[in-house]
């Protein structure tokens, strides 16, 4: 398909006039009509293209295993998911862990803790640890993307679990990878970050543990999460690289690591769509575009 010059011409044309999404949406609709769904094809699609927002939640649910590939089973499985949500949340209410005014994100955290047998004793409450805080940050962002609380809990739960299982071993190496790609893109900026001591105190937790939740606004964030959910944690590195490149001039003027950290932790929200677009291009450039037929 990709070799067809006619098609390439057409895609390029659409891209220019802003209709790029039309063709992609059609091809996704074809993939979504398959029964059972071809999960491989769906992940390839999400790796290559941004998901149309009307299909995003559905595709995420399939990719995260919240819905099985067989569409005939979706009703039955959705009912199980709903019941599981209700069972856990009502038990937490009975145990007085949560009340009517408890924020949804805190409810999700308690549910997640209960499911993992990590619920603290009510008589001995402990402050939220790093993992709890990461979970809460991801929940807060997911809440902005997903309206339905049942869907939202399941998406956070499975996102966090899948991220840990699939990428848990790779995450500690991402800062090194960032250094590598930054050296290729802008050695001068890297040298500055190194010499000022900032390189070791970049907001790695925000970037690589929270996957930019609380850093990027949802419209940009969901395009990054499309890639993470469909199987890439490398994309996180390229988003970080593009953030650094976009604010190069400003960063070159900060000589204190705390200053760099603080600026990057409270990133201006006006330019993030462009940053993500560039990051995805850079990621495709370095890691190649998945070439399965879609």
């Amino acid at each position: 398909m990709a070799e067809d010059p006619q098609r390439n011409f057409r895609s390029a044309y659409y891209e220019k006039v802003g209709f790029r999404g039309v063709e992609e949406k059609k091809s996704l609709e074809i993939v979504l009509k398959d029964n059972p769904l071809d999960v491989e094809k769906l992940s390839t699609f999400s790796q290559r293209f941004p998901l149309p927002s009307m299909y995003r939640i559905h595709v995420w649910k399939v990719l995260l295993g919240i819905l099985p590939p067989h569409s005939d089973s979706h009703t039955l499985v959705s009912r199980c998911r709903l019941q599981q949500f209700q069972d856990i949340s009502s038990a937490l209410t009975a145990m007085r862990f949560t009340h009517t005014h408890t924020p949804q994100t805190e409810l999700y955290l308690r549910m997640f803790q209960l499911e993992n047998q990590k619920l603290p004793r009510r008589s001995e409450p402990r402050p939220a640890d790093d993992e709890d805080e990461n979970f809460l940050a991801i929940s807060r962002a997911m809440e902005e993307i997903v309206d339905d609380p049942v869907d939202c809990y399941w998406l956070v739960r499975c996102f966090v679990n899948q991220f840990k299982i699939k990428f848990g071993d790779s995450i500690p190496h991402l800062p090194k990878s960032l250094e590598h790609f930054l050296s290729q893109e802008d050695a001068c900026l890297l040298a500055h970050l190194k010499s000022s001591g900032s390189l070791h105190s970049l907001p790695y937790r925000l970037w690589f543990r929270r996957c930019f939740a609380g850093c990027l606004p949802e419209s940009s964030l969901q395009r990054v999460w499309d890639k993470v959910i469909s199987g890439s944690c490398k994309i996180l590195v390229f988003v970080a690289v593009e953030i650094l490149l976009s604010y190069k001039i400003l960063l070159m003027g900060i000589s204190h690591p705390d200053g760099v950290y603080n600026f990057l932790s409270n990133l201006p929200q006006d330019n993030t769509d462009a940053i993500v677009t560039k990051a995805i291009d850079l990621w495709h450039k370095h890691c190649g575009t998945p070439m399965h037929a879609v």
């Binding site: 590939p69 599981q84 069972d87």
Partner: protein, 62 residues
């Protein structure tokens, strides 16, 4: 086709099992909470008795 039927059944079974496992975790959490409450009740009962005794003594004429 047979594989397909099996895969579909597996998907449904997994969702059902996950729901069951969650219930088991709920049971455990509830039991822990109940246990704590019972021991709290016992402590309170015994301290209430301890409090009640001197109070009774105080009402007695000396």
């Amino acid at each position: 086709f047979l594989e397909d039927v099996k895969a579909q059944a597996k998907g449904e079974l997994q969702a059902s099992e996950s729901r069951y496992q969650a219930q088991r975790r709920v049971t455990l959490a509830l039991q822990t909470e109940l246990l704590q409450l019972y021991s709290r009740l016992e402590t309170e009962d015994s301290s209430a008795t301890a409090l009640a005794l001197p109070a009774e003594g105080a009402t007695e004429p000396h």
